[in-house]
Symmetry: C2
Subunit: 200 residues, 2 copies
């Protein structure tokens, strides 16, 4: 291996570690509490080097979010060998487990989505991708009927609201939450005129 | 009636008209497009006089939102002579009619809720009040069970998502949307272990 390739690996690896550190920092501190100087100090590098990787705090924050969003997208990737309801239940389990493990970060994410346009864009994109994936599973061969599309898209809002309630109130079990989410999706699809959609 | 009382009436009336104008302006222009100078020009008054009523653009925007929120809260006030499902269907009808008549303003409101903390606060407050009102109807004599509370609160998120889809896509009738909303609430309450809650 030549020198430049090795250097490139080092650069990528340092960037990866900075992004990992970001996920911890932004879970512990609010966005306003962190400055580039403080992030550099926490990372044990110079501010100049930090700026070499990220042009500013918002870019750094976005990079950590992108990373978490990619982690989530992979989690939600369903196993094609399972039936649609099993796939959905499995993806939900994985997702709720992830939220459980990242509860503080998740609550901060949802709250910062309210005030930072870049965060909002990422949240919207993940929601769109998830809606498309579920709709592809429910109506693989044609564009979904409008009521089915509205049901699935709105259900993802339901999910955000239910998870926020779950994280903030702490009096529902994960099984209760999962049952609420799956049962509500069934109810929404029935109301959209697709009562059997989840059973494939 | 003495002079000061008459002046006070004039002041209130001018403020009311400015707030009304604000609802139209913020529906037509984005928040960034409007300046205090432009608002004063549209109102046909001096900038100094506008500042006499509102300390800045954000305060003016908040006042127009408060006004719309109050209008909405009154609309949603249910008729106690009706059964709970009739009350809910009636409130929903009134609300969806209001959204229909204010579609552009509503879409701007939901979008600006994403980026302006003051707007977010108002949206959150209206959502909380509505959740409390529905829960009071469903469980009048006791605090609601956690799963019922989570179902109703998350359903209000579902409603925001479904209405945004409805306004943006324009391919669902108001009756379809209403059916989707009511059916989903029934499904969510069933999933929360309260299958008969809506039928009182």
């Amino acid at each position: 291996m030549g020198g430049p390739a090795y250097t490139r690996l080092e650069v990528d690896e340092r960037r990866r570690r900075l992004v990992e550190l970001g996920a911890r920092l932004f879970a512990r501190y609010s966005y306003d509490e962190l400055s580039m100087a403080r992030i550099a100090r926490e990372a044990g590098i110079s501010k100049a080097l930090l700026y070499h990787y990220f042009p500013g705090k918002q870019a750094y924050f976005s990079a950590t979010l992108e990373e978490k969003a990619a982690e989530l997208a992979n989690l939600r990737e369903p196993d094609p060998a399972l039936s649609p309801p099993e796939q959905l239940a499995g993806s939900l389990d994985a997702f709720l487990g992830w939220v459980d493990a990242n509860a503080a970060a998740y609550a901060k994410l949802v709250r910062s989505a309210a005030v930072i346009p870049e965060v909002r864009e990422i949240v919207d994109r993940v929601r769109d991708q998830t809606a498309r994936r579920i709709l592809d599973g429910l109506a693989p061969d044609a564009p979904p009927p409008p009521a089915m599309r509205a049901a699935v898209r709105a259900w993802l809002w339901f999910m955000d609201g239910a998870i926020l309630d779950w994280v903030e109130q702490g009096d529902l079990s994960r099984e209760q939450l999962r049952g609420l989410l799956l049962g509500t999706l069934e109810g929404a699809l029935s109301a959209a005129g697709e009562p059997g959609a989840l059973r494939g």
